[in-house]
Symmetry: C2
Subunit: 218 residues, 2 copies
């Protein structure tokens, strides 16, 4: 790899990590909005979404510049292509964080459920770990860490299914709380989608490093 290409790729990695941190913060704030019922967190998420979008556009432009300027091949080319996909995935995670924040705002306006399903707290921690680890795996080209992210996704799906049963139960026993229960289910689905996107990143890392297509192993 030429020194210039190496420098530009390092810069690109830093930008992606920066975007990743912005997205993680958005996820954190959207969960805080949900749990603490505080509008300031919602505002924070909505304000930062603009910056996330701007950053995504900038990173895509930088990838295109690297491709045009250095015309990388083999592993370097593959890395830039993965960076383009990860960039897209991160921006979509930001969208889901925004969706969670919007639901949190709706939920603030109504009385909360008497008992929240216990796993509501487990899911955000799991999903945030997946986001962070998938980006670490990308930057360090760490296949083992990527595999851990993929394995965590089963747990997320499991929690989400339990959430689904719980919400159905709540709605059945307290029909007037149906709307609240369904809104809560939506937030858990958005978290599941964020987990999915982290899994995509992890799968791309494994493909890039090992040439193994794991993304459709199911």
């Amino acid at each position: 790899m030429s020194l210039h290409l190496q420098r530009d790729v390092e810069k690109l990695k830093k930008e992606i990590l920066k975007l990743g941190t912005m997205v993680e913060t958005a996820i954190n704030n959207s969960i805080l909005a949900l749990n603490n019922r505080e509008m300031s967190y919602v505002d924070e998420v909505l304000k930062n979404e603009e910056f996330i979008n701007e950053m995504e556009v900038k990173i895509e432009e930088d990838c295109l510049k690297i491709l045009a300027l250095h015309q990388p091949v083999a592993g370097d080319l593959r890395f830039i292509v993965v960076a383009l996909k990860v960039n897209n995935d991160l921006e979509r995670m930001g969208d889901f964080a925004k969706n969670i924040a919007k639901r949190a705002k709706e939920l603030m306006q109504v009385e909360p459920l008497a008992t929240l399903p216990a796993f509501v707290n487990e899911l955000p921690d799991l999903v945030r770990t997946m986001v962070r680890n998938s980006l670490d795996a990308l930057v360090k080209l760490d296949v083992e860490l990527a595999q851990e992210v993929i394995d965590m996704d089963d747990k997320v799906d499991e929690i989400n299914r339990a959430m689904y049963d719980e919400v159905t139960r709540v709605a059945r026993e307290n029909p007037d709380r149906t709307k609240v229960a369904i809104s809560l289910l939506s937030t858990s689905r958005y978290m599941e989608r964020i987990g999915d996107l982290s899994t995509n990143i992890a799968e791309d890392v494994i493909f890039m490093v090992d040439g193994r297509v794991v993304r459709h192993a199911d």
Copy 2:
């Protein structure tokens, strides 16, 4: 554009359209499974998902080959990058079609709702049109058609919100039908996500042709 590059880009366009047709068929079959309560359609979707995934892997490889071999710049480079993203979007649509088919299978095993919300039929037509038109817009570089796709997404969101209210009403009035109602809501959400992905494609077309970032206009 060199003749060789031109030939490979034409081949790539054909492959993407072929993948698009496969995904459209999967969406059609998943909707037929839902409406006609017939397992054969579910089987069809699950069987074809493998081919969709194989096709996605092949198209990504072909894009990488074109980048490495022809080292395209400017508009050609932008097209290949968009093709990579569209390829990804199409494979995700296939996943959502699979999710709809799985829900359809669940719903077959229980008594259907006495009255289905009227817009259940409107949504699939709308979403399928969005998928087809977004791919047409890509291949013809048709910005107007792409804008139509983006405009249709508002209608999809509107139907989905109405669906949400309807399902809440059904669950409230017939608590024992809550699970069915929520499953139905899931299918409508999967369709909404397919619409979102078509919108992504349309937005990428506009950016590629006009340089306008519309994707975050919201």
